[in-house]
Symmetry: C2
Subunit: 270 residues, 2 copies
């Protein structure tokens, strides 16, 4: 999907809601038989709203082959949606060029995802192979977990933090048309600093909902400065998928997604 | 596999040869029908020598489901070897705790690998979930690719390089009994500095052979200072797997592995 197409989807929706698909087999709602059925049910309940979907590969790989089969089924179902959402493989891959090309082939070409999350530690040649026509790299920038401070916040001798140096690398390696950055919702000031540094780069923002970030703060600190309502894909996973463990799980997932979408829309208007 | 068991394997072999399994479907030797057959053939040709095997998950994932099937077949075959090698999943995973636990479950528990390569960028809670009884984290430290300089070599305000800060994190997060570090063969001086910093930590050293590192230099700079012949798993992939594209591919793979093992052994004696 191109930058223009993605922008149009977000404009038309009035939000950039991304539904994360993190299926936990120990938390299937009442009456649901399997992982794929659960994920597909969540997708169907939210497809009228979601601009993007982000299956978290770990939750599928955890199960070995049955998990791969479920991921395959969910991926096929996502490709069949008439809403044609932006599809992000949350796989956090990162390896040297030769190997990175293989991950790109598997996830972007064979599985057909629009984007893949990528770790920056190995440098330019571990990220560039994912940049393909109409495809996107989603580089880890500033994450929302406690361990983010261990490396990302270290001070460099030139005055930058490590995550700022990573941001500068991304600006050098890619363009706003083929590279977006993971920027956690739980650190609004840092999100704001990152936006100043990368004025035209899309942010994929996890950490809203279950992890405690607020959609209003994310929009205020993270949206494009000059283009209200643009520049963000806001991800929620658990708060949507596990909105209810009863037989009303699909309705409740839809309500949770609607509520977050409304919150983002109203923050954009504020 | 415990530290003591791994140490005994290496002592008894006189080297720590790790055979990397990076199967390229466009480079199958003459007469070989498929990816799994090729990998299993390389494994069988080298099983009398290899202390460890390291399947590179990207090369399998590149093919989608047929690749996962091949990885599964190769993994089963490795588990069946009477030599009981140390099995490293070269998967470069790294994600927040919740998700990292899933990758650990899939690769260490379900697939039964002894170790997994892990990226450090997200910090402690992205690495700790991989530390399990009898299992190993193989953390990216100093890699052998051109892009390694982009982040790993940046200078911090406290005088350390980023890769040194990462090494210090690893010393804090794990122990030499459950954490080893990827340290590339192509930078002998840096390998030496890393050894000084981590005197008792095993290094997994890629970059010997096809990438141009020398086994003699790796041993001289990277082995434990006080215990000659210990502290290294030296990986070679392409130079063994693709030693010949003719019908003699298994014999040539064995010869290439034997030659590298001999080189390491003689470096240890020097």
């Amino acid at each position: 999907m191109t930058y223009t197409e993605l922008t149009q989807r977000i404009e038309s929706a009035g939000h950039g809601l991304c539904v994360g698909i993190d299926p936990d087999p120990s938390k299937l709602p009442f009456g649901v038989g399997g992982l794929a059925e659960f994920c597909i049910g969540v997708v169907d309940a939210t497809a009228h709203l979601a601009v993007a979907y982000k299956p978290n590969f770990a939750f599928f790989e955890a199960l070995g082959r049955p998990g791969w089969d479920a991921l395959d089924a969910v991926t096929q179902h996502l490709h069949g949606l008439s809403s044609k959402p932006f599809l992000i493989a949350d796989a956090k891959r990162g390896d040297i060029g030769n190997t990175a090309s293989r991950y790109a082939q598997g996830i972007l070409d064979v599985m057909g995802y629009d984007a893949i999350t990528v770790a920056p530690y190995m440098g330019r040649d571990s990220v560039e192979p994912f940049m393909r026509q109409g495809k996107w790299v989603v580089g880890l920038g500033l994450t929302s977990n406690p361990g983010a401070d261990d490396l990302q916040q270290l001070a460099l001798s030139d005055g930058r933090r490590v995550y700022e140096a990573v941001a500068d690398c991304y600006l050098d390696w890619g363009t706003p048309q083929n590279l977006m950055v993971v920027a956690g919702a739980t650190r609004p000031e840092a999100l704001s600093a990152l936006r100043d540094r990368m004025p035209e780069t899309f942010f994929l923002v996890p950490g809203v909902g279950a992890q405690g970030g607020s959609a209003e703060e994310v929009v205020r600190h993270g949206a494009f400065r000059g283009t209200p309502g643009m520049g963000l894909l806001v991800n929620a996973s658990r708060s949507i998928m596990y909105a209810s463990s009863g037989t009303d799980w699909q309705r409740r997932a839809a309500e949770s997604a609607e509520s977050l979408a409304a919150e983002i829309r109203s923050a954009y208007r504020a």
